[in-house]
Symmetry: C2
């Protein structure tokens, strides 16, 4: 809705032109374009009165007002106070994607090189960033980025906005060009930029004159872009949702969790390939008929790993005996049924045990397990596999045989807000979360952190770790936390990875992790150094993390006060 005329002192307006539901669901209130941070005191006070009048009117017409306000420059302290004082509804902060002054130079011949260069230094993202800090990261302030035909933003500039709470983008109608078929379209480069915003679920606002006859064409084209770029995977309800990681060693998984794991289209296929390779390497063609390979599945769940082993044996024509060890009595019910019905003629044996307490009737040639969490070792695979070492023959192998965790610094205002909300009930900044990362900006690429190999036949096993890793920021931004990933070698060159740089295509069993830190503004070129610890005591394993550059910050999760994994 367009703003009221600021000159009219007592405007009349029939609220009844729309129903209350329509006001609330279909209208964004664009408030009067006044400057509540003007250096002119009279203009400033007048502007505040106008803005408050508009806000009150919006709140009268909507159950929660949705208000759009335009940033005019770097000074927004009074606006921040007004935002903080309002208790309901969202603020949509309209920010130009590049300095709007640049546009004026197009029409000015007198502009000097240095003037242009100076204008290029002005970064409207920093206007928003200062407003964000001044509102104390108010979750009701969201960003509406306005594109401009006078300047196309760099790829990195666009990627950085994806880490912000993007509500919408504004596409001016002047960005549309007629193609050869006489349809209004965006140029390739703009399509890519708009596509990036669509991928983080930004809405599209097209700004045009009311008498522009092509409005419906722009809208049709925008709908097409949305269907091209909006990914619609079945897990999208998990986007940006923080979950406390599973503790399958301590808790029993439920049927829903097993079901999700079992439907991964890639993971068990790669496990099956790894087992095939092991069987072929350990048993020659000549021995195939008589040499038995003993395979122990550690944590068999409802049977997907055992199924992969049996498939591998059938394909390679090797003889296997499978022991399935599973501690969850509820999973055992289903597993027993599978063995009774489908595998009644196979050499398969179930043991309802914790693998650490299991005394096997014979030793294994191969241990197969999927005890890895989103950060590799965070579901205690090192401790479990160390405990299972006694089950393995001296020349036996473990699938997987190695796992590595990775981290990188991340900007994500959305995840920061989600963590802040949790602080009402838990010490949320001392937890690591499993989360389908969506509204984020990778400040730098992930680097390797900790590594574990299996079997570990060291005389004294030490699963504690400590490392400091350093990164470099490409742009001014805000550090909100640390992304966590892993990859694992199942056998030889068969690898599963959720590291964004090498992610196994199509595998969805693991979402990344997110370790929150307190918001810290970073300058382009800054070094970001992060210290990470894996610590162990008699009852639990936990991580601690700390940002130590560009500024020494708080140590998170000391002594495992928040997230810890119980042994």
């Amino acid at each position: 809705m367009l703003p009221m005329d600021p000159q009219e002192t007592d405007p009349t307006y029939p609220a009844t032109v729309l129903s209350a539901v329509e006001w609330s669901s279909k209208v964004i209130f664009q408030v009067s374009d006044v400057d509540v941070d003007s250096p002119n005191a009279k203009l400033r006070e007048y502007s505040k009165a106008m803005l408050m009048r508009d806000v009150t009117w919006a709140e009268h017409l909507q159950i929660n007002g949705s208000i759009m306000v335009r940033l005019r420059g770097p000074e927004n302290n009074n606006l921040a106070e007004i935002i903080k004082s309002r208790t309901k509804g969202n603020w949509f902060i309209n920010v130009p994607i590049t300095n709007p002054e640049l546009a004026s130079f197009e029409h000015r011949k007198d502009a000097t090189e240095s003037e242009i260069e100076e204008a290029q230094q002005v970064d409207p993202w920093s206007w928003w960033n200062e407003l964000r800090f001044a509102t104390k990261h108010n979750a009701r302030a969201k960003v509406v980025v306005e594109l401009s035909d006078s300047d196309r933003p760099s790829r990195e500039c666009v990627r950085r906005w994806l880490g912000e709470p993007i509500e919408a983008i504004i596409i001016p109608s002047s960005l549309f060009v007629l193609n050869r078929s006489n349809y209004y379209v965006l140029q390739k480069e703009w399509q890519t930029i708009v596509g990036h915003f669509i991928s983080v679920r930004a809405n599209i606002i097209i700004s045009a004159k009311t008498n522009d006859k092509a409005i419906s064409q722009y809208a049709e084209y925008a709908k097409k872009l949305i269907s091209d770029h909006g990914d619609t995977h079945t897990l999208n309800s998990y986007e940006n949702m923080l979950e406390i990681p599973l503790q399958p060693l301590f808790d029993n998984l439920d049927g829903d969790t097993y079901e999700i794991f079992e439907t991964d289209p890639v993971k068990y296929k790669l496990y099956q390939e790894a087992v095939q390779q092991v069987l072929l390497d350990r048993v020659s063609e000549a021995e195939a008929k008589r040499k038995l390979t003993v395979v122990m599945v550690l944590g068999g769940g409802r049977g997907p790993l055992a199924r992969a082993v049996l498939n591998a044996a059938e394909i390679t024509k090797r003889k296997v005996r499978v022991y399935i060890i599973e501690k969850n009595p509820n999973a055992i019910r289903t597993l027993s049924n599978v063995v009774k019905t489908l595998w009644s003629k196979k050499d398969v044996h179930i043991f309802s045990k914790d693998m650490r307490d299991f005394s096997p009737p014979e030793l294994a040639d191969v241990l197969v397990s999927e005890l890895l969490g989103s950060f590799g070792d965070n579901e205690l695979s090192p401790e479990c596999l160390d405990g299972a070492l006694k089950l393995l023959k001296p020349d036996g192998v473990s699938i997987p045989c190695k796992s590595t965790s990775y981290i990188n610094p991340i900007m994500s205002a959305v995840l920061h807000n989600n963590v802040s909300q949790l602080t009402l009930t838990v010490q949320a900044f001392h937890y690591g979360y499993v989360v389908l990362l969506k509204n984020i900006y990778h400040i730098d690429e992930p680097q390797a952190l900790f590594e574990f190999t299996h079997p570990n036949r060291a005389a004294v096993i030490d699963n504690t770790r400590h490392k400091k890793v350093s990164f470099t920021a490409q742009m001014d931004c805000v550090l909100h936390g640390i992304g966590g990933y892993f990859d694992t070698v199942l056998y030889k060159d068969i690898i599963l990875s959720i590291n964004p740089l090498t992610h196994t295509q199509g595998m969805f069993s693991w979402f990344p992790m997110f370790f929150p830190t307190h918001p810290l503004t970073i300058k382009a070129g800054d070094t970001i150094s992060i210290k990470f610890w894996r610590r162990v005591d008699a009852e639990k394993v936990w991580y601690e993390w700390q940002v130590c550059e560009p500024k020494e910050s708080e140590l998170h999760n000391p002594d495992g006060v928040g997230y810890n994994m119980r042994l």
Copy 2:
């Protein structure tokens, strides 16, 4: 889902017969019918182990398990402990509607009169009631009432169940009879009983043998009953929802609230009739052309009362001048627009003022207002109309001219749970709520409490009140709080009422009030005495309430610590 065989020590069952979504959305787990409160220690411990096994299995298969367990008699302390210890999912407590032993007498010829009479004294509702107190009113325990063909419950017995958290009723297939067209139906009396349960949104479970060929016929018939008895008014999302009453004197109402008020199909029609009657009484046919009646609308909102006045003038052919006084500047915007466009030729004048500060250009013949809340005086109509007395001619009249509040004792476990939930954030037992009463049992009929008349020309005006009202319980039940209602005389015999005994047909502008008290078990025949106060100080008006019979209980809202109305 039927329970597992309690004899099988390690049952196998393929969880994969249903998907996780189907398990969670389509299945209720009927647990093994064991007696965890048996006096036999061995049987008791065995029963507990079986029940916990079933519960664990249900939690494994469902995201939140839904578990149905049957009450076998009055002793349920161990069951209560198990219910309290479980942290997720709902318990559906299966309770027979009358003593199941009565059924056995039908087949026993040796039963004596006194045996039968004793069995009739047993009230399974009390089994549930004791369980409810033992679980400390756990909101996850809900009731499934099982009907029986051997005994039809009394009307009062059915009405009492409506005050419980009814999840479903079980209809045994033996209750169905073939009608003349060879369709399975319920007898009239049973239809009425089932209809009562449907009206509080109870689900229907039909218990039948799996080979009963008429199952789909029973289901079709049940669907028909649901569509006949399930009322589907547009406000049903408000059922049992507690709302803090509006404070229109202190806060400005929003557009949504005005819109809901304005769509009441009955209220403004009755206001219009009252104004017509006043105009006819004050201005004779002979005077009609020259005598002007000055009408002041106090709190004009967006114009519905003024519209009623103008309509009345047109119908009666009497001359009116209308002053509309309204303090909400947002409503004034719409009102000004209506005056400018629709009423530009009428004698209508708007004043943007609080009625208590308004100095009129002339005195009024008639004051019209709708300042009444759900409890009559709870939106401070007495104080507002006293303040407006100076606007009225000595012989002037007020519409409305009288309002009366009513109360009665109520059982409602659902409202009690909703109040208890609010205690996390406010002193919820010191508030009165506006609520569309649904799952309630009226323990006795409403009685008049406080009365106010307008205009009040007493030398010293005292709007404080105090009264004690006594009621009688028909049946054993639990007192959860006090229902509040009002009626008002607009003029002569034109009345608006939300008292359940005299409710104005079709009027939905006001929901009743609910004043919570702490749960108190009541015996049939008990006297329930309630003291109620309306208190006033310089800044606010508030109620206090106290149950003083059959047991002296806590005084609620002393000094207005919770709900109070700011002057």
